[in-house]
Symmetry: C2
Amino acid sequence: MTSINDPLKLILNINAAQGVLQKKMDAALASHGITLTDFTIFLQLSLANEEKMRRVDLAEKVGLTASGITRVLSPLEKLGLVRREAHSRDARVSYVKLAPAGKRILNESIQSAQSSAAELLATYRSTKITELNKVLFRIGGENTIP
Amino acid sequence: MTSINDPLKLILNINAAQGVLQKKMDAALASHGITLTDFTIFLQLSLANEEKMRRVDLAEKVGLTASGITRVLSPLEKLGLVRREAHSRDARVSYVKLAPAGKRILNESIQSAQSSAAELLATYRSTKITELNKVLFRIGGENTIP
DNA sequence: GCAATATGCTTGACTATTCAAGTAGTTATC
DNA sequence: GATAACTACTTGAATAGTCAAGCATATTGC
């Protein structure tokens, strides 16, 4: 049939690769009781200024909607992994902050995540990985890890 | 904090980029009444031998489970975009085949998809895209488009 | 040739997420 | 300083998908 142009192929292949990788990362993180989404949330919180973020900003950062973040965070709050903090001047916003238990889990799971990732990509030269990262950084914008 | 190794960064960034791209592609395809998943299914069917696939194989190819493919296909069958075909010697399998209406939609939507993709990736040299594709091809395996 | 096992598919119950609407609080305008 | 418009967050209903179980058919090993 019509042959597919390279940009479309790239998008379809990013999609396919993401599906494969997400399954593997979820499996690797399951022993810590978290998903890749949870992990990403913890990581973004740990990188944020004062280690806290407004819920809308966190949602944006991890690619969810405001309501999505409410639902994902709710069990994490109940488990005591993150907690709420009020904004001093705006009563509408509630910050999300990593609780000590959440930090602990992040530190443990980051080890698993890094070694799984290294294993999954073991066959690639690190220069290639760095370069690939640069491209994705521009595509993913704000949501990427620099 | 602990700095993150490059393989993990790459995986997180593929994840982020995929989220961004999927939203844009879904928006571009919405005018044809299909999602990126539907589009991928149509495309894989059109590339398949005799333009038909067993449901399990299609599921595998597009990164869904067998039950997932049943649910996604069911409305597409009702709309007459794909149809079932029996296997001559194995009564368990039912092939999925693009119906003429499905082919028409694929041909129309492939135009939108290609031009959106080209636009989204307009700032990248095509050699870079080709190279990136090679890497993803190895990560995504069977599920990628060669 | 028949029991055991494996395969292909569907279905009910669940999970993750979205969207639309609602509530509460804030900012701007006149 | 009242009102309108906007923003942050939550919630009910819906959608896309998973997982576990079940049914029908095929294959294998005795």
